[in-house]
Subunit: 314 residues, 2 copies
């Protein structure tokens, strides 16, 4: 069986899987990225892990990698804030020493968009945007049926778009008012503290330190009707809906797909987001843009997205 | 000689010219758009004007039209705020009654971007953005070598992107904090009044009513060292530079081209814009994005852009 290795390099974990043309993941595994602070050790361990997954049944076509701050055009990861390898890391070149086959790398959010096009719910769409909502916020943009890479492969850094005229919360990359400081697992936590400051209502969330508080706790509080938690989701949806309306004015997508950890909150986030997206759309766009959950949510979107870099050309 | 008619439908004037493959305008003329409040009268007069331009020397390949709120996919102008024809106007269909040849229409700012690619300074570029700064602000986006139309041809409405988290100046289309309320001929005039309110310094601009004040007056005052006028240009450049840095995070263009009436102010606008663009770029983009004046500035960018819709396919 022809097979592609899909690899998702995250700040905490590196996940990999063998993905067939139908978009099924046949074998998968993972290991802690943080165990390998030196890139050469990481590549060596990654190569061994890949070799261990393979057997005679599989004909390996190529390796696709999704990673933060990856440049598809340079084959590199460059100055990623949440990885230990600093500067410009020649990932493709280093892995090619072990595997003399096609290897491609791409920003993880762009890979998720390509995965949606190849394996997910965007197969018939030429214009759409995928937003990944995890620790940060990433974007992948497809227009005219093709993923937008940009001049040297760094398009789609939508988490670092300033939405406040330079007067808002700082992102990890120092952008004032950057979208991901509001809309992400980290952003929603920051919003809780904004609401705890603004309102005086009782809330279970007043019992948690900033360090202790996590997304799961906010989610459960909102389900229990907690005033602060509900305000927080509504505000997050309002900011996201407004930002998405801006994105529509850019490339006019047919659909916007949402994916990532924050989506576990379901309608708590989706309902206010949809309301504020539609409210903020220019007249000419109203009623034309679908807001959807990724069609890959039940599978492994990051690994499938990574594998789609190779399947896209086979 | 093979020729294309390029037409620029503006709120005040309709300009048209015969454009050859080299991007030279051989004959041009114009008439007041406002003389024809009924679309059928307008199309009839436009047809006669085109016929009058043509003679045996020319072989007509097609007609390209740039207009506000035009949909390239539908062949229509839809709900344009500054035109008298309301609702959805089937421009291509109506003009095809008079000329049975290829006729294409596109948003004027997108047409300017295509013109830059076909006739101007972007011939070798696959990823760039054109910003037109006139009464409003328009955008045309090229990625992967192709203009982005969007789902039904309305991509690039960059003047109506909210840059203030829903808390700023209203645009003509009701967008709170929309970019063109800050950066356009109208926007710069509004900023003068913000500065007159904020500061107490003497200024020649204190002698003009809102109705009287025009761009030329603000420009001359700034050249004369007027405090308010200079503050106004610096603020406009700051807002534009910040917005362009956001746009870079979207499609990562190799260059951003500026065109339109506001560019007459030259370095007064360009210098602060360039400074704040570079300052606000994410690290990964720094030093990679050129801010340029359109290469068509000395010619007729709108007519050439319109003609490029046909020359693009011939």
């Amino acid at each position: 069986m022809k097979i592609v290795v899909g690899i998702d390099i995250g700040g905490t974990k590196t996940k990999l899987g063998l993905v067939c043309k139908k978009g099924l993941t046949h074998i998968e595994t993972s290991f802690p990225t943080t165990d390998y602070p030196l890139i050469d050790d990481f590549i060596k361990h990654l190569s061994k892990t890949i070799s261990d997954l393979l057997n005679d049944k599989f004909e390996l076509l190529g390796i696709g990698i999704g990673a933060p701050n990856a440049s598809s055009k340079n084959g590199t990861i460059e100055n990623a804030a949440n990885l230990k390898w600093k500067g410009v890391v020649e990932v493709v070149e280093k892995l090619n020493v072990y595997f003399d086959i096609p290897i491609k790398i791409m920003n993880d959010a762009s890979a998720a968009a390509l995965g949606e096009k190849i394996f997910g719910s965007a197969k018939e769409m030429d214009d759409f945007i995928t937003i990944t909502l995890g620790t940060g916020l990433g974007g992948g943009i497809v227009a005219n049926g093709k993923l937008i890479d940009g001049f040297d492969g760094f398009a789609g850094e939508l988490g670092h778009i300033d939405i406040t005229l330079g007067d808002g919360r700082l992102t990890g990359l120092g952008v004032k008012g950057g979208l991901e400081a509001y809309v992400s697992v980290t952003g929603i936590k920051r919003t809780v503290y904004h609401m705890l400051c603004k309102y005086t209502e009782a809330s279970i969330l007043r019992e948690y330190s900033y360090k202790e508080l996590d997304g799961e706790t906010i989610y459960k509080a909102a389900l229990d009707g907690d005033f602060i938690a509900q305000k927080t989701y509504n505000y997050t949806g309002k900011v996201l809906g407004g930002a998405l309306a801006n994105f529509v004015a850019f490339t006019q997508p047919e659909a916007i797909f949402l994916t990532g950890g924050l989506l576990k909150s379901g309608v708590l986030l989706l309902e206010p987001t949809r309301k504020h997206l539609e409210k903020n759309l220019l007249q000419v766009y109203k009623g034309k843009v679908k807001l959807l959950e990724s069609g890959l949510t039940d599978r492994n979107p990051a690994v499938l997205g990574a594998a789609s870099l190779i399947w896209n050309e086979n």
